[in-house]
Amino acid sequence: MTHSEIIVLLRSRFGDAIGQWHDMSSDNAYQRQMGSYLDVTEPGVIQKLAFFLRDEKGLEFNNLILLSTLDNSDGSLSVVYHVESTQYQHELTFKVTLPRDNAKVPTVCTVWSHANWHEREAWDMMGIRFEGHPDHRRILLEEDYPGHPLRKDFREPDFYHGMKVPY
């Protein structure tokens, strides 16, 4: 399926929750593939959308390639999902934007189980809560580490467990 066919199918099913398609113009096919994305305006539908993408006949996005996060210049946070279908060889990128002070989105662990660690990393680094996650701990840093270091307003602590941190 091409991107436009997929979007028509998603709009017919999810209506206004599906926002704009952003096309990336580039000479590089890989950049076009990974840089073009679909906006999802309603964070609450993410899980249903993911189930639909995985299970619908003809779509069958059975692999979540990557789940990453962005700290946008307007202060909001975004979660970006790259999914692919190994059967039909098509890919889709969709993005959901969340408010900074209450960033939470339903988990997709129940859809693609390998999202588990991706979401833990997103929580660790960017401070985004994934509701319904089965094991919602930090993945790399200590549980008591202050803050989420990939947020642009993060400042490292002066002391951590009595150890001086800045150079």
Binding site: L140, L141, P149, E156, H161, M163, K164, V165, Y167
Partner: protein, 152 residues
Amino acid sequence: MLVTSVDTLFNWARLSSLWQMSFGLACCAIEMMSTAASHYDMMRFGVIPRPSPRQSDVIIISGTVTLKMATRIKMLYEQMADPKYVISMGNCSNCGGPYWEYGYHVLRGVDRIIPVDVYVPGCPPRPEALLEGLMRLQEKVREQGKAVDLEV
């Protein structure tokens, strides 16, 4: 018949069998393993890797010390029996290395938690550099506890 002082004898014994705690942290650990392997063979200096802090004399901090690991390193150091020595191997454990400014998870220098005897610079240091560090440590052990002329 050999006449010597007790200090000299003990120091000689210590420097000739510096048992190293086999403990690797990052890419420097690969160089440390290479140093321990047959090509560079640090066993010819009496340095044997031991898997336990209770039985080792020297700990080689071979790599980036993260804040999460730092507390563990301190515990391992405290578990070692005296006399104990520390070699800081590589720029990361010397001073933070490439993480000195933006490494939110890195301790800028292992000497912030434990005392270091020898610093080996490099990123990572070659096995020859680590051997040089070990030999410097041996020279330090040879002179310890004695009134020495500090002009070397």
